[in-house]
């Protein structure tokens, strides 16, 4: 749908209070439709195996979106869409998207449930805080990983020259420029000069400043826009979206449905998630990222999130051409085996459900640089291996992995892990022997559990 028309509706849609939108429109309709379409969770299932329920979830989510529209938080107006507009927009969703350029050009695809095609791998620091001194080195290490298709969110630079940065300040603009320069430098050093870089520098309009064809993020690099939970946009996001669309960047649209929130239980939140997928596509999202949040856990490998991700992704895979990708955040942190067990569980659930993958990252990184390119390699390997599995085959592996970390999901008590500089030899940019041993250990465990890793 034409962006100009959507921007216009931000200014002309019906005035509504935020609480009324969330309670009377989203929550009331989500509860009603979840019940009406018999979308449910039995309290046990990790990976949805019920195709008919996935289709009902799609119907419920589409109907929910037609009733809610999207809320513009700044104008306090609802952007409404007719059924014809939604159907037409969904009909024109492109099932593949090229990113990067030259020999580094890659293509992401809409995937089917149990698709044997390898998922697209967005991998990088995923917005963990990265210190300016380590920014280029650790992003170079991520970019060296051959299975990583797109360098993903090269990290928040929340201080430069020791100065903390206010997001709307002049320093934030300077930071955005450095973000673009250093990200490009990292992929150049890795020998992939035209590699796609998914950018998300700051939650402010000045993020636009990292765009430059020579030294920064280019028109071939996907740019991220994040919806506010649930089904809401703000002026900052819309401003950035207006620029990136006009500049020709692929649009990476993300949303974060809240389990226990306005959608209620995991089934109701899956219905809200489907509505959010459609909202993202209506706004021009060409890759759509689901990143479930949870009222009690900040991470995405709890059982509720595993089920929600599987059900919502299957609804999208079976009923649309939307290119879906799933966020992977964990309680455990890089340097400890729990980190890898968690992201593997979710990758197995999401990839067999028709998703591509984004991540991984600890939900609560400790300090700066709490990331690992080697774990990114294992993440990509597991995601690729999952492409050959059925949901039935993946389920017992997901359950077995969940058993290993279910009592350590509390972020305070989850393994602390180590920063990049302790996990890697900074001279050779290779993992330390200890970190390599963690990789070997978990990979061995996964093979024994039945993940077809080579």
């Amino acid at each position: 749908m034409n962006f100009k028309e959507i921007a216009k509706r931000c200014e002309t849609g019906p005035l509504t209070e935020s609480k009324d939108f969330l309670m009377k429109s989203v929550a009331a309709n989500a509860m009603k439709l979840t019940k009406e379409y018999e979308v449910s969770w039995d309290g046990k299932t990790f990976v949805n195996l019920d195709d008919e329920m996935a289709d009902r979830c799609w119907q419920a989510g589409k109907e929910l979106f037609l009733k809610t529209g999207i809320y513009s938080m700044n104008s306090t107006r609802v952007i409404e869409f007719s059924e014809e507009e939604v159907e037409e927009s969904l009909r024109f969703v492109q099932p593949q998207l090229a990113m990067g350029a030259g020999k580094d050009r890659v293509v992401a695809h809409h995937r089917q449930v149990e698709d044997s095609r390898k998922p697209f791998v967005f991998c990088g620091p995923f917005n963990a805080n990265v210190h300016e001194e380590m920014f280029v080195r650790l992003n170079e290490a991520f970019s060296r990983e051959k299975l990583v298709d797109c360098l993903f969110f090269p990290g928040y630079l929340n201080e430069v020259d020791g100065q903390l940065i206010r997001p709307t300040s002049a320093l934030a603009t300077r930071m955005a420029i450095l973000y673009g320069q250093w990200s490009r430098e990292a992929v150049r050093r890795a020998g992939r000069p035209d590699m796609a870089i998914a950018g998300h520098a700051v939650m402010a309009p000045s993020e636009i400043a990292c765009t430059n064809e020579e030294w920064g993020l280019r028109s071939t690099d996907p740019r991220a826009i994040v919806l506010i939970s649930e089904l809401q946009v703000d002026d900052v996001s819309m401003t950035r979206l207006a620029y990136y669309q006009a500049y020709g960047c692929p649009i990476y649209m993300a949303f974060t449905p809240l389990i226990g929130g306005y959608g209620g239980n995991p089934a109701g939140t899956a219905v809200v998630a489907v509505a959010s997928f459609i909202a993202s596509a209506m706004l021009g999202g060409e890759v759509v990222h689901i990143g479930p949040q949870h009222m009690n856990y900040k991470q995405q490998t709890n059982q509720h999130s595993l089920f929600l991700s599987s059900l919502a992704n299957q609804a999208i895979a079976r009923n649309s051409n939307i290119i879906a990708t799933t966020s992977h955040t964990t309680s455990g942190r890089p340097g400890d085996p729990q980190y890898a067990r968690e992201f593997s569980a979710l990758a197995l659930a999401s990839v067999t459900s028709g998703s591509n993958v984004s991540g991984p990252r600890p939900a609560e990184p400790l300090g700066f640089n709490n990331v690992s390119p080697l774990m990114g390699r294992l993440f990509a390997e597991v995601a690729h291996a999952a492409a050959g599995l059925s949901r039935e085959a993946a389920t017992p592996i997901v359950e077995a992995l969940y058993e290993t970390y279910k009592d350590k999901m509390d972020l305070e008590n989850a393994p602390k892990g180590e920063p990049f500089e302790d996990l890697y030899d900074l001279t050779t940019l290779e993992p330390t022997a200890e970190h390599q041993a963690v990789y070997d250990q978990v990979k061995g465990e996964l093979v024994r559990l039945g993940v077809p890793l080579h």
């Binding site: 206010r166 700051v202 402010a204 009690n296």
Partner: protein, 220 residues
């Protein structure tokens, strides 16, 4: 006193069924029956809403139900408070809290859940909203005679503004007057310590516990 028991039961049911009209009716009946209104607040509304909060924590109910239950409680307690005012009485609050999301940050849900649970647990809460400049937060704390300033930030870029609130309080010589509680996805105890905040909460339930401990003996 059977009348009191029946009315308290009606109050409890109004919370459990998220029914503001029923809460108001039960509260009006309590006033008309000449019940001990402080006891009515505690037994009829405060205990059931705390139970609702615990059900929310166990994920037996969800945010819409918690919000509707809190709205019902507020409607009922408002009736009792007005009657108490007229008779010169006063509902004891653990503390007065002003809460909001800091400047540049428009995330509302987490902050609203904290506000709801604090209210349910006996705090007088003034929810100032989102995207709040430090000056506005401090002005509101002063005008509401607050004990606590609770600051939410969901982004690692906007949590910087939590520091600005503490710094401005220090500059104005007001820091010791308030207990400053910080929270939000990227916020940690280390950050709270670094900026000189008094407390840090992981989530809404933790916020209640942290403030209960800090406010012990400060009922007003």
């Amino acid at each position: 006193m059977p009348d009191a028991e029946r009315i308290y039961e009606a109050m409890k049911k109004s919370i459990e069924t998220y029914d503001s009209d029923a809460a108001v009716a039960a509260a009006e009946e309590a006033v008309a029956a000449g019940l001990d209104l402080l006891e009515a607040v505690e037994v009829g509304f405060a205990n059931p809403i705390r139970e609702l909060g615990e059900s929310f924590h166990r994920m037996e109910i969800f945010l819409p139900e918690l919000t509707m239950g809190a709205d019902a409680m507020k409607a009922g307690v408002d009736v009792l408070e007005r009657a108490l005012d007229e008779s010169g009485g006063k509902i004891e609050k653990k503390a007065v809290v002003v809460i909001g999301t800091v400047e540049g940050d428009i995330h509302d849900i987490g902050k609203s859940v904290v506000a709801t649970l604090l209210h349910a647990n006996g705090y007088q809460v003034h929810d100032l909203g989102i995207d709040l400049p430090a000056t506005r937060i401090i002005e509101a704390a002063e005008s509401h005679s607050a004990d606590v300033i609770a600051l939410s930030a969901l982004l690692s870029t906007t949590m910087l503004y939590q520091r600005d609130v503490v710094e401005l309080l220090q500059n104005k010589g007001l820091k010791d007057k308030y207990y400053v509680l910080v929270g939000g996805a990227p916020v940690t105890q280390a950050w709270a310590d670094e900026i000189g905040a008094d407390g840090f909460a992981h989530d809404a339930f933790d916020a209640v516990q942290v403030l209960d401990k800090a406010m012990e003996g400060r009922a007003k």
